[in-house]
């Protein structure tokens, strides 16, 4: 395992993202219970857990698609203040469009399957107010290029693309506006193992080049291990353990984490 010896990210004093004490119930089912999470600028937070652990609900909250019953959410960014869960629909939409990027496991959630790939990326910039066709075109091309998407398929609709390519379009769309926060919901689940490795490479490279703060949710420890600096383990709507990635993988404390890690290794 290679260690990058940049400035330790943990030294930063103010987290970029802070979620405090969020709880959310769907009828009798409590999906998330008193969960708190934070991520420092440039850090990659991995959230691991099995399906039904509440990890995806938490991620959707970070994208303001889901508003919890209780709890708060702040992003330490210029022009952004207060509990983001309290924003009105308009402010929420603008914030999501300009500051947060997301890649879903299911590309249908993130993409217009019959529009061009470049158009999918350009829409982000259009929402943010870009009105020059040439600029849109160039920005979309650059974002797709950064996601290692083949540029000869620039205007192909996602519906005609492979799963891995669709994820690259989602990724390009997510990073087109250089968001402060990139959310990844099982971005490689369902892809062939070889394709999965390529997409992970791209994500890793992007992270190193751009120092984007990322939150990645996965049930796959391998994915988390490849990308995350810090890991949160969730089970039945609660956080059971949290720590630096190495720590979690080398020396898991909670029995559930131990079980997970050992099952994997």
């Amino acid at each position: 395992m290679t260690l990058t010896l940049d400035t330790p990210k943990i030294v930063q004093t103010r987290p970029l993202l802070q979620v405090r004490d969020v709880s959310k119930s769907y009828g009798p089912v409590q999906a998330v219970r008193n969960v708190s999470a934070h991520a420092y600028p440039g850090e990659v937070l991995g959230i691991v857990g099995e399906s039904g652990s509440g990890k995806s609900t938490l991620l959707r909250m970070m994208n303001l698609e889901e508003i919890p019953d209780t709890g708060s959410y702040t992003l330490d960014l210029p022009d952004v203040s207060g509990n983001l869960f309290e924003l009105d629909r308009f402010a929420r939409r603008m914030l999501c469009a300009t500051k947060i990027g997301i890649v879903y496991q299911n590309p249908h959630l993130g993409l217009l399957m019959k529009h061009s790939s470049s158009g999918n990326v350009a829409e982000r910039l259009l929402v943010a107010g870009e009105r020059s066709f040439a600029t849109l075109r160039q920005a979309a091309t650059e974002a797709l290029d950064a996601s290692e998407f083949p540029l000869d398929r620039l205007d192909a609709p996602p519906i005609e693309l492979s799963g891995g390519m669709q994820q690259r379009v989602q990724l390009a769309k997510a990073i087109a506006l250089e968001p402060a926060l990139l959310l990844l919901d099982e971005p490689t689940t369902g892809l062939d193992v070889s394709v999965q490795a390529l997409v992970l490479d791209t994500l890793k490279r992007l992270q190193q080049d751009r120092h984007i703060t990322m939150v990645i949710v996965s049930h796959d420890l391998g994915v988390i291990r490849t990308l995350a600096d810090r890991v949160m383990v969730m089970r039945r709507g609660e956080v059971v353990e949290t720590g630096l990635a190495d720590q979690i993988f080398q020396d898991p404390q909670h029995p559930y984490t131990q079980q997970l890690v050992h099952a994997k290794l």
Binding site: L112, H115, G119, A122, L126, V127, S132, F133, A134, D155
Partner: protein
């Protein structure tokens, strides 16, 4: 109180067909739509003795605005003598006793289906445009309740994306008529299916334009001196139909929006679409006097 105080002497029909409560609602909704330019205001839209989709929205506005002195002009696809224009004109004058005219300059109120006359309208004139589909977002969002929310949020990303996609696919914006336009910098509206040629005439116009969709029950307005900007990318200019160089085979008028008439030999002849402008041009040519007013387009170009 007795029944006789609750009723009034029997009349076959109210003045202008619509009863007082219908007109009151329309006046209120018109005021509202003038106050919020380009924003679609829902209204009850009563049934009138004409099929939905045949100008019932425009008709309700016209019937509410007219008095027995209002000089009414009605056009359909640019022509005063088109069958439906004739029918509407006849109806308005039958139920409201209004004088009618075909001369744009003489008209106080012009109800039109899909054209704005070529002569510049004045501050004392009202243009009523019939609207089949008031929702510019319909192609990207057919659900009316969601579309309404998108207008509230000025959420027009999809609208722009549509233009982007057209340029990518066809090399140009393919929108023909009903070119979506931003009104007063806030609401995107459809100017009704007028050709692109006519949209610039709405921008900072002196006259009031009321757009009314009877079937879809929405009314909206462009008040005088209001910005109407077609949605265009900053580096892909708005293009009106290339009619500036065409000449009308009947009147010899050049530089106006034309109807194309296919010929037996495979070619096309052109006739000026604003029929009254054609008539005036013929009169001038035949020495019957000049009656033409100032036009928005000069030498086939929109003048500043």
């Amino acid at each position: 109180m007795s029944l006789s105080t609750l009723t009034k002497p029997w009349e076959a029909m109210s003045y202008g067909f619509l009863d007082g409560s219908a007109k009151r609602e329309l006046r209120r909704k018109m005021l509202k739509s003038v106050a919020v330019p380009g924003c679609q205001t829902p209204y009850a839209s009563r049934e009138v003795p004409m099929a939905r989709g045949w100008g019932t929205g425009g008709l309700q506005v016209s019937l509410t605005l007219v008095n027995p002195q209002t000089r009414v002009k009605v056009i359909d696809q640019g022509a005063d003598d088109s069958v439906n224009a004739a029918s509407i004109r006849r109806f308005i004058s039958r139920v409201a006793g209004t004088p009618t005219t075909m001369d744009t300059l003489e008209a106080d109120l012009i109800q039109s289906r899909h054209r704005i006359p070529e002569e510049i309208l004045r501050e004392d004139q009202v243009l009523v445009l019939q609207v089949p589909n008031p929702e510019p977002l319909r192609p990207v969002q057919p659900n009316m309740s969601i579309a309404r929310q998108m207008h509230a949020d000025a959420d027009y990303g999809r609208m722009w994306l549509q233009l982007y996609e057209q340029i990518v696919r066809s090399g140009r914006v393919m929108q023909g008529a009903s070119y979506p336009s931003l009104v007063h910098g806030r609401h995107v509206m459809t100017p009704s299916p007028i050709p692109r040629w006519d949209v610039p005439k709405l921008h900072m116009a002196k006259h009031l334009t009321i757009l009314s969709a009877g079937r879809e029950k929405r009314i909206f307005a462009v008040p005088p001196y209001t910005k109407v900007e077609p949605l265009v990318f900053s580096d892909v200019p708005y293009k009106v139909e290339e009619h500036g160089h065409l000449t009308c085979t009947r009147s010899g008028a050049t530089g106006f929006f034309m109807n194309e008439i296919p010929q037996d030999d495979g070619s096309s002849a052109f006739e000026v679409s604003d029929s009254e402008w054609g008539v005036k041009t013929i009169r001038a040519r035949d020495g019957e006097g000049e009656s033409r007013g100032e036009t928005w387009y000069k030498d086939g170009e929109m003048s500043e």
